[in-house]
Amino acid sequence: MPKGVPLGGVTAETGNAVREHHRIGLPAIFSAFFQLGVTSFGGNTAAWLYHQIVRRRHWVTDGEFLSDVALGRITPGSGGVNLTVQVGQRLRGAAGAVAAVVGLLSGPLVIVVALAVAYARIGWSPAAHAVLDGIAAAAIGLTFATGLKLLPSGSARFGPLAVTLATVICVGVLRWPMLPVVLCLAPISIGLVLVRRRNA
């Protein structure tokens, strides 16, 4: 595959090249992920990370992001934290991964305990539940918008789009277990890439 093949508007190679020219400092990584942690309401870390780290800061490419999302979901643990580990590692190796994860988790850790203390003192009103519903709705909107923005694009997009659709139907609609679905669809999708490459 020649360099410069578009993947959602960017190339798989640019991310590394950009990072070699502008080394991102550990304090910058920590503070970016700290901001991400304390603002990522609604529990969908991936959608927030895409907005703050990929779209606003351009630290990783769409392709790198999606690859990290996939690996983060099929390995054990929280998908959002696994994604953060990988992005931090891409930015500055092991130290970058530590800075990113500690940044991501330290704010919410304090906030969630503070909320529990407040709850113990003043309790929970029906209005608070309604506010949470409103926030949840916005979080779902952010998730859908992120997924739709990252749909396969370009001239040969019909195969990849079919793979995305199959994933949504199996995991989202039919609620089949994620791991077997991914282990089945990922090789098909990789095969499509290789076939297209051979024909190109």
Partner: protein
Amino acid sequence: MPDDFKALLALMLVFVPLSLLSIGGGASLLADMEHQSVSVHGWTTPREFADLFAISRAAPGPGTMLSTLIGWKAAGWAGAVTATIALYLPSSLLVFGVARLWGRWRGSVWHAAVERGLAPVAAGLILSGGIAVLRVSPGGPAVWAAAVIATVLLLRWPRLHPLILFATGGALFGLAALW
């Protein structure tokens, strides 16, 4: 052995295995956490567990901050930090190692093919995550409608900061409940 230390050790023994067994996160993790903290160790009552779950959803950050609250109930701040590290460190080390091994083949043809091939699956997983949250949301059609509006607004104006939508959504639903 002092009691504090015993509680921290117990937290580690519960959350480290969960960290490495929780593929796909979410529902299976929650059931295990409830069993361990309510029935096995008595860190929370069933009612307290439900409350902590609601609180963890109100806080920012990854959806699994519930572990932090269980640790806090069991052993204060030291417990909160211990449970958080015990749940996230083992899985983080594993994914770090896998990603590092994987990075060694960067530049090869099949490395690029695998990364490109995973992209459409990942996009599908992100969309499926939205559907899953929509399904368990207690708010009903109002939440569905608001979610669709938020999606359209974000796609139409990509520079719109999501926090503005989150604040608006929270405020509108809160006001509607008070009405």
